[in-house]
Symmetry: C2
Subunit: 241 residues, 2 copies
DNA sequence: TCGTGTGAAAACATTCACAGCG
DNA sequence: CGCTGTGAATGTTTTCACACGA
């Protein structure tokens, strides 16, 4: 069946010669794979769990072990991985280091991603210093702000640049990911300008819905929304999962 | 067949079949009905959008307007609200202020939530100063840390307390929500102790899976995971939604 | 007319259960 | 054996399409 599986993980690779095109729904341009978003989301969780397992000397892990640790089912774990190929070993399980490699390749974190941060307030400064990013291959190499008071200051080893000079700051940097940590009122404008400057992925901390062309990918982190989910859960004593 | 929903009592005011709806909950207390998690998640987004609409003088909004602004479908918007009752007005739409009130009641943000923050590093300090929390009814009233160097310092108007005295710090505070902003290695222990001290909702910024009794509700904010989702999206030029 | 509320249909996601392999 | 990979079954969420109300 799912004939696109084997090679799909490297679908962005221009070479892939003999992959048979999807049967009925070839859209020619984007969206040739139909990997459920929920699967990709879980992939990150698997990776995190595997990375915490490996230093402990664990060499292989079964779908049921992984499932138990994450609170999911073993079948789910196997199905998730099966979307991308067959990297399990019957009777053994999955080899941690191999699986980590596969997932990182799929998520494209087997490479370094230079990142631009816009907004060096409290949150922005915390993000520059956040170790968790570099561990997964994301390196903030530019920190920008609009406030002349802030521009030029040192933040976590970076000199804050001027957002007004965004285009020249980004020139030749190969930056495609940006973090928006500015007040809501400025977020839409900042995001538009980032996209115009070649950024195609935006991590948005401003609590507004950004309106951008479909070519731009946005992930929102709205902390108040998360707390709302919590207060709902707490009041409606509902099992979480 | 969704005739077991708690609010059905309201809907059946007319043509009640000879079978009594098997119901217990009224709309004013927490509804015991199975509300999909995805619906609750969207509720927060509706609220945010409505709150940005109202100051502009918008009095009513239709499901299709709301849907367009959020990138969803009108049917979805109506279905989502229908889970909780009928607060739309045919031919008119939804009255913003009323809808805001309903959603806040459902999410339980029509009340103030005192919150304890554990971990006053870069991120923790940024969170104390974050205006977005208070706007939605969440007020960090205790900031704790384990580091004696930090305990006693002022952070955003709060004096950092000692995590070691967690229980006495929380005594009588009515705090049921906690934010964990400590290093991964300490997160599990901190979370357990919070739960033991009566916290039932935890916003966890540490990139590990917390293992807690089912009575505890955890929401993870893993920023590296979010960036991974972004790199995946950027590489597999996939429309976001 | 416009716009809600809602069954029914379609799409999507998860779990089951088992063949097959190291 | 133990464990993967995967059709088939089941469960859940979204979309469609239309009756009905203001």
């Amino acid at each position: 069946m799912n004939c696109e599986f084997g090679h799909t993980a490297i679908k962005f690779d221009r070479i892939t010669p003999d992959v048979q095109p999807p049967l009925e729904q070839s859209k020619t341009s984007g969206s040739r794979t139909r990997i459920p978003k929920s699967v990709v989301r879980r992939l990150s969780a698997y990776l995190r769990e595997l990375q915490s397992l490996e230093p402990q000397g664990t060499e292989t892990v079964s779908s049921s072990q992984l499932a138990r640790r994450l609170g999911w089912t073993d079948a789910q774990v196997r199905k998730d991985f099966a979307f991308f190929g067959q990297f399990g070993h019957p009777g053994v399980g999955y080899r941690c280091s191999q699986l980590i490699g596969e997932i990182r390749r799929i998520l494209a974190t087997d490479q370094q991603w230079p990142v631009v941060l816009v907004g060096c307030g409290n949150l922005g400064q915390a993000l520059v210093g956040y170790r968790g990013f570099a561990n997964q291959g994301f390196v903030i190499i530019k920190a920008l702000d609009i406030d002349p008071e802030v521009v030029g200051q040192q933040v976590g080893g970076l000199t804050v640049g001027s957002f007004e000079r965004l285009e020249s700051e980004l020139a030749g940097s190969g930056i495609h990911i940006g973090i928006v940590a500015v007040p809501s009122a400025s977020a839409q404008g900042v995001a538009e300008r980032l996209v115009a400057a070649g950024v195609t992925g935006i991590l948005n901390f401003a609590p507004i819905k950004l309106n951008l062309p479909p070519s731009a990918h946005v992930i929102d982190v709205d902390l108040a929304m998360e707390l709302e989910q919590l207060s709902y859960a707490v009041v409606n004593e509902r099992r979480n999962d």
